[in-house]
């Protein structure tokens, strides 16, 4: 029982917290290096995002798309499929839900639902390109999705500059969506989009933990050959997984469009984009739905807080991106292995040092 507890909770917790602390520490050094106070900077970030009701709501609002992109990547990572195209699928989903949002005037509930569906379908369709290439021609999905991201950026830019451009707007932007397609703000910051994200989270949780498909995803991720020999049509499953992932990504974009941005601009996704944040969140949450939920809220807090640091310090808000990069770097290694415990290894190392000293003395 104790061993189980250690394996299931302590080691994962340590493996998550250590990289976070290290990344924040290095980020602190960078802040210090440009002549600012890291404690003050982090203090502002946390207090503005977590210590007030408004702040918490805003954090949860920011977390809504991040939960989705995090889940979208986590489900593919779990199957050892690298859908790095979540950003592009999200952007296209957002764009076309936006187009649907300003092109039609429908009763709110219907309009919102249809807009979300447009986003989901766009995401799925765009994810199907790498999925089919992988399934039929064994093309490496990672490289394809990475490149299609750039294509997605260029396509949306082109469309936003041309056909769907709002001439009244100064910069490149589409028309604003009609109010019937907007999520109403509950209070100051949060919308029903958060609720949708939570529903998707519950769905994915059940899918991953209880369902046959979840079992198959895990098997494919852990040992593809075994999965094949056990009768799973791996490539067909990969298409399903990519469709789920793309759909959720599209939903993230559509929801963000309808609850926050209301129109498409070239800086819709921010820097780094919501899809890229999803990768960090999936890693931080160890590909586990609950982990993803917590990680998304944590990261949303950082992002929300970063909006305020300019007001109080000279630190550019891109510091969050820097910390994010460092954090991913640290998350790529396992501080503690599942099998060997950290303390045991340290003890072993000490012993071997002592042992070798003893040997030289003789």
């Amino acid at each position: 029982m104790t061993k189980n507890f250690k394996e299931r909770f302590l080691i994962p917790a340590f493996n998550t917290l250590l990289p976070v602390i290290s990344a924040l520490f290095l980020g602190g050094i960078i802040i210090f290096a440009i002549g600012d106070n890291p404690f003050k900077t982090y203090g502002v970030m946390i207090s503005k995002s977590l210590f007030t009701v408004d702040g918490i709501l805003k954090t949860l609002h920011f977390a809504s798309p991040l939960i989705l992109t995090g889940l979208a990547i986590a489900i593919t990572f779990k199957a050892n499929v690298f859908n790095m195209g979540v950003e592009g699928q999200m952007l296209l989903g957002a764009f076309f839900s936006g187009v649907f949002g300003f092109s039609f005037d429908l009763p709110p509930l219907l309009h919102i639902s249809l807009c979300l569906i447009v986003g989901v379908i766009t995401g799925i369709l765009f994810a199907l390109i790498p999925a089919f290439l992988k399934a039929f021609f064994k093309v490496n999905e990672m490289v394809v999705t990475l490149m299609l991201n750039y294509a997605a950026v260029e396509i949306t830019r082109y469309l936003a500059q041309g056909v769907f451009r709002n001439p009244a707007s100064g910069d490149v932007a589409t028309y604003t969506i009609n109010s019937s397609a907007m999520f109403n703000k509950v209070g100051k910051n949060i919308t029903a989009f958060f609720l949708i994200s939570i529903l998707v989270f519950i769905f994915i949780y059940i899918l991953m933990k209880k369902s046959k498909l979840g079992y198959e995803i895990t098997a494919i991720g852990k040992n593809e050959e075994f999965a094949k020999a056990s009768g799973m049509r791996v490539y067909r499953k990969i298409i399903y997984i990519m469709m789920i992932s793309g759909g959720i990504s599209g939903l993230a974009g559509a929801g963000w469009m309808m609850s926050e941005k209301y129109r498409y601009t070239t800086s819709f996704s921010g820097n780094p984009g919501i899809g890229w944040d999803g990768m960090l969140i999936a890693l931080l949450g160890a590909h586990n739905p609950v982990g993803v939920l917590i990680a998304a809220i944590f990261y949303a807090a950082l992002k929300t807080g970063s909006d305020y640091i300019n007001l109080y310090t000279n630190v550019p808000k891109d510091i969050v991106g820097v910390i994010q990069g460092i954090l991913i770097l640290f998350l790529s290694i396992k501080f503690i292995n599942d099998k060997t415990d950290f303390l045991g290894r340290m003890r072993q190392r000490l012993k071997s040092i002592r042992g070798s000293k003893g040997a030289t003395r003789i």
Binding site: I30, I34, F82, M84, I129, L133, F136, F137, K138, V139, N140, M142, V143, V144, L146, M147, L148, N149, Y150, A151, E154, I155, R157, Y158, Q161, G162, K228, N271, P272, W276, M279, L283, N314, P316, K317, D318, I319, V320, G321, V322, Q324, G325, I326, L327, I328, L329, F330, L331, S332, I333, K334
Partner: protein, 300 residues
């Protein structure tokens, strides 16, 4: 005629940094540490060389500092992926995001939209005409009048081939990638080989970055590498890490890029869409190559 000339000249021009990236990536690819961080390394090379040209007021010193910094980044990548045995794909993506964020962060901090070194570097003077070649009618306007690093990149194809197949180091790189156990069993320090393979990559990425920012346009703009690192990875996949074959695929990108730019000039309203062509083209090439390769396989 001049359009075709332009297209071909631009093909060489756009292929050059890609070739450097591809050659930088093949050694790591062959040694089984796929360097997905080519993009980030190139970006750092572009950013730091531009920035240090600005600081040192010297093209050469700027590039040297850029190379050194990128090598340090290469060391970080190899420390994580070789020594700490990380998931090197994730490490590489982390490095890409880190360099992109850091360069953006620093631009914000300096409160400048981009790094313009045109007052120090005259791009026109960097173009070198090759004696004899420049007098040959049709070829001259295509092959002559490029910058030093552009020529260097083509020389590198040959150098990389020799290094890969005629020397101990190259043999060891291939052995480490093919059967690391075998390499270790005869005393080859496989970790060291992997470090070197990554560092060669970092060095060439830095040059590719410098070529892109200071040497060509004397300007660094945010995220100017625009996925070239990933395209290089695709080219390496297509060419299976063989120097000549992989660089050929890189020139396919150069050609499409050049076509999209030159044709966009006459394309009117849809010209914006041409930007996507190189990426889509690479996806198609990758698909075709993989389809041909997997055509024979009877394994499900």
């Amino acid at each position: 005629m001049s359009l075709i000339n332009n297209i071909l000249y631009d093909t060489v021009y756009h292929s050059a940094p890609l070739i450097l990236l591809v050659l930088g990536g093949i050694f790591a690819y062959k040694a089984n540490v796929l360097n997905i961080a080519l993009e980030g390394m190139m970006l750092l090379g572009a950013f730091s060389s531009a920035y240090f040209v600005l600081i040192t007021k010297s093209l050469l010193w700027g590039i040297i500092v850029g190379v050194i910094l990128t090598l340090i980044l290469g060391l970080i990548f190899s420390y994580f992926s070789v020594t700490l045995k990380s998931n090197f794909i994730i490490t590489g993506l982390g490095i890409n995001m880190f360099t992109l964020a850091l360069s953006g962060f620093l631009l914000q901090f300096f409160s400048i939209p981009n790094i313009n070194v045109s007052s120090i570097v005259s791009t026109a003077n960097l173009k070198i005409d090759i004696p004899f070649l420049k007098d040959i009618p049709i070829i001259a306007p295509i092959l002559s009048g490029h910058t030093f690093l552009t020529y260097f990149s083509f020389v590198c194809i040959f150098l990389a081939g020799v290094l890969m197949f005629k020397t101990k180091f190259g043999t060891y790189v291939r052995v480490v990638g093919e059967n690391e156990e075998a390499a270790k069993s005869v005393g080859i320090k496989s970790d060291r080989i992997k470090y070197l393979a990554v560092l060669i990559g970092a060095f060439l990425c830095a040059l590719a970055g410098a070529n892109l920012s200071v040497e060509r346009t004397a300007l660094y703009t945010n995220n100017m590498t625009a996925g070239r690192g990933f395209i290089a990875i695709a080219a390496i996949y297509c060419g299976r890490g063989m120097p000549v074959k992989s660089t050929l695929y890189a020139t396919v990108f150069g050609l499409t890029k050049s076509l999209s730019i030159n044709l966009a000039l006459n394309a009117g309203p849809v010209s914006g869409l041409f930007e996507t062509v190189p990426y889509v083209m690479m996806v198609i090439v990758l698909g075709v190559v993989s389809a041909i390769e997997s055509r024979r396989t009877k394994l499900r």
